[in-house]
């Protein structure tokens, strides 16, 4: 694939390895009780975490698609 090393390869690496760090973080703060899902504002933070991850994935994904077009 043309430009693969400049487009989807870094994208996969970023959200693959970065995802390992991110989801480990979510798991640890949940497992340790630091984030308590019984509290409404903590549940909101959990949603914000996942929104943030999806938000940056979408931004990078869309920009890559536009560049390839």
């Amino acid at each position: 694939m043309e430009y693969f090393s400049h487009s989807w390869l870094p994208y996969i690496y970023l959200y693959g390895i970065g995802g390992i760090f991110f989801f480990s973080g979510v798991y640890i703060v949940w497992r340790s009780g630091a984030i308590d899902l019984k509290k409404p504002h903590h549940r909101m933070w959990m949603k914000i975490f996942f929104f943030g991850y999806a938000w940056f994935m979408a931004v990078h994904g869309l920009l890559t698609i536009f560049a390839l077009r």
Partner: protein, 696 residues
């Protein structure tokens, strides 16, 4: 490479001088809110999230600089923005791990955490590493400022028949004197408010430049079409060129840099600690990373993208050989008119000064907290009277700010050899952050991590990093992901991966072999000449470390091994560590205990409402505020809970506010009794309403 001088007109200089005077007066005005070292360093822990979010813009944008991102935008396109869009991965760790721990444990600096969590030796080593990191960061800031200003200056000044050449170092010295001025007399509150103003101006100036530039090249479509395809990708090429590649920058910036920025940048942490509570700090961080940083990426990089488009449109106007570090100034001078250029340049340089100011303030905080106070305590020169002690510490903080500014200027010498500021910063981050980042991370998230582990991570990690720096083709090459080694600046970015791996490896090795170390120490303690054995081991380890540092290459490969094997034994033998005391409330596994320790009793989690009150003065110095029984019940509060009391005007962002404790209630509804100290710190206005809310 083409370089420039004398860009700009006298109108631009007038605009810049007026801008700077305005900003300095603004900062000096808010300096009056500095009453003690808590205000000087932390702004009194009272601000709203939006105020801190905007004040972080100037710090973040400044530190990541118009100069270096425009340079990479010019050389490589939109991928210059990738370092602004990769900070989310460590946010859960930060928001629910590190931030509550540093706030609730009431530490004033990162090294102080190391003493509470481990021991004084860990604090000492953390102080040394952190001071090196902060002073280096200040140096990078000065270098960037110098490079931004040089194209606007003539090649030489002629004063009284003497010709004074304008050199980078001379420009930096002058800048340092100006920069040191208001931080020395203002403190954190002055910096926060100066940064707040500049945050708005920066975003405005950056987008204004982008809009004018796009119009200059013929509109949005023309701009897009002028850029080559590879300039349009949001991420860099995976592993080439060596000066700018995705994988190296991922490990240097997204991993070491992001953790470094969120976990060990004392300047940024002090901003979050200036928020009125932990949740406000979380909001400030989330809004900043999710929305403000992506906008900032456009603000700082667009001049480089415009430079590339103009260069493709007409190489006579901007040569492809233009020095990348000067592209921001060149583009701004071409697309804007006189006066507007001065405004853009003023916004840029003022932002950089904000970054440097924040760092100087933060470094002074570390020095006073981790060097001055322990020394005063050791020599028994600490005053018993709190007010006298505060005054002496504030004076020391101001003197330290001056000394740190000078050290920052000197540290520039270490970075001038790099072709661009971006590479200098990348190398700096890859090299200095890993030991501290790993130590903080393992300390916060791993209960088993002990003083032996952390001290060996510092010393053994540094030893292995030195080895890697000396023989990159042997040690770093296995981690290079196919990046070609540049012999002049070998593996500027990907070395971060090697450095992280060796530091983590040392931490794991020492922790998982702690049983063996304990058995050895038990044996040593039971032998007659145990102390002699340990003294010899200490001498060997010290010798090995310093021989490696000073480059004595005989048996060089064995020195780190000696350090990694012997240091844990030394720490276990000579040190004392109570695991319960060292971890309770100081790791992510006991945040509830940290919160209870912060309050001094069990936190009251009952959800209450905010109430509006008027204040009356009491003639006492007890740190308690008294509400009516009805107001107390409306807030869901009990006597002894913590309360936050602020001026009703939301736009003040908490500037006029205090934290205190609920005292015994009375029957005058809508009235709160405060004392003279509360009035003095809160700067409340007579007759104005206050809003009270239960903190915990």
């Amino acid at each position: 490479m083409e370089t420039f001088h004398n860009i700009g007109t006298s109108t631009d200089w007038i605009v810049m001088v007026v801008y700077f005077l305005t900003i300095m007066l603004f900062g000096t005005y808010f300096g009056r809110y500095t009453k003690d070292t808590s205000d000087f360093f932390f702004g009194g822990r009272r601000f709203s999230w939006w105020l801190i979010t905007m004040s972080i813009v100037a710090t973040g944008v400044g530190s990541h600089s118009f100069v270096k991102y425009s340079a990479k935008g010019f050389e490589h396109g939109f991928s210059s923005s990738m370092t602004y869009l990769n900070d989310w991965f460590f946010v859960p760790f930060f928001m629910f791990g590190w931030l509550p721990i540093i706030v609730y444990s009431k530490v004033r600096s990162i090294p102080e955490y190391f003493e509470k969590r481990f021991n004084p030796s860990a604090r000492f080593l953390a102080t040394v590493l952190l001071l090196l990191y902060m002073i280096g960061y200040i140096g990078i800031g000065f270098l960037t400022l110098g490079k931004a200003v040089i194209p606007m200056l003539p090649e030489a000044f002629h004063i009284f028949g003497i010709t004074l050449d304008v050199t980078l170092m001379r420009a930096i010295v002058v800048i340092a004197i100006i920069t040191g001025a208001y931080i020395t007399f203002g403190g954190q509150t002055a910096v926060i408010f100066t940064d707040l103003l500049q945050g708005f101006i920066l975003i405005f100036a950056g987008f204004m430049l982008f809009a004018i530039g796009i119009a200059y090249v013929g509109g949005g479509q023309a701009f897009w079409d002028l850029l080559p395809t590879t300039w349009k990708f949001p991420l860099a090429n995976f592993n080439e060129p060596s000066s700018f590649n995705f994988v190296g920058i991922f490990w240097q910036d997204a991993v070491a840099g992001s953790v470094g920025f969120l976990f060990m940048n004392q300047g940024l942490l002090m901003r979050f600690m200036a928020c009125k509570n932990v949740n406000e700090g979380r909001k400030a961080a989330a809004v900043n990373i999710l929305f403000v940083l992506p906008l900032s990426a456009i603000v700082v990089g667009n001049a480089g993208w415009l430079g590339k488009a103009i260069s493709a449109l007409s190489p006579d106007i901007i040569s492809p050989n233009t020095s990348p570090d000067e592209i921001f100034v060149v583009v701004a001078s071409i697309v804007t008119s006189p006066g507007v250029f001065g405004f853009v340049m003023a916004a840029l340089t003022a932002a950089l000064m904000s970054t440097v100011d924040t760092l100087i303030n933060a470094t002074a905080a570390i020095f006073v907290n981790d060097v001055y106070r322990p020394l005063m305590k050791y020599f028994r020169k600490s005053h018993d009277d709190k007010k006298v002690r505060e005054k002496a510490e504030l004076f020391a903080a101001r003197l330290t700010s001056i000394a740190i500014t000078a050290a920052g200027v000197l540290s520039v010498l270490a970075f001038v050899q790099f072709p661009t500021v971006y590479e200098a910063h990348g190398y700096f981050h890859s090299t200095l952050t890993p030991p501290l980042v790993v130590a903080i991370f393992m300390g916060v998230f791993w209960k088993r991590f002990s003083p032996a582990g952390v001290i060996t991570t510092f010393l053994g990690g540094v030893a292995l990093m030195i080895l890697g720096a000396r023989y990159p083709e042997i040690f770093i090459a296995p981690f290079d992901h196919g990046i070609e080694m540049n012999p002049n600046h070998p593996y500027s970015y990907i070395r971060a991966l090697y450095n992280l791996v060796v530091c983590i490896g040392v931490g794991f090795f020492v922790t998982y072999t702690s049983n063996l170390q304990n058995r050895f120490i038990t044996w040593v303690r039971n032998t007659n000449n145990g102390q002699l054995i340990m003294i010899l081991i200490t001498i060997f380890a010290t010798l090995a470390f310093f021989l490696l540092v000073f480059g004595i290459t005989t048996f060089e490969l064995f020195y780190p091994v000696i350090v990694i094997l012997f240091v844990p034994l030394i720490v276990t033998y000579f040190g004392h560590y109570d695991e319960e005391l060292g971890t309770n409330g100081l790791t992510v596994w006991s945040i509830a205990a940290a919160k209870a320790a912060f309050k001094g009793s069990t936190p009251n989690e009952l959800v209450g409402e905010k109430v509006e009150v008027h204040f009356k003065l009491l003639d006492n110095d007890i740190d308690k505020v008294l509400f009516s029984k009805n107001d107390l019940s409306q807030m869901g509060a009990k006597v002894g809970d913590l309360v936050y009391l602020s001026d009703k005007r939301k736009w003040l962002g908490g500037l006029k506010s205090i934290h205190s404790e609920y005292g015994e209630p009375h029957d005058e509804e809508g009235i709160v009794y405060i004392n003279g100290d509360h009035l003095d710190h809160g700067l409340f206005d007579e007759g104005r309403s206050l809003i009270a809310e239960k903190e915990m």
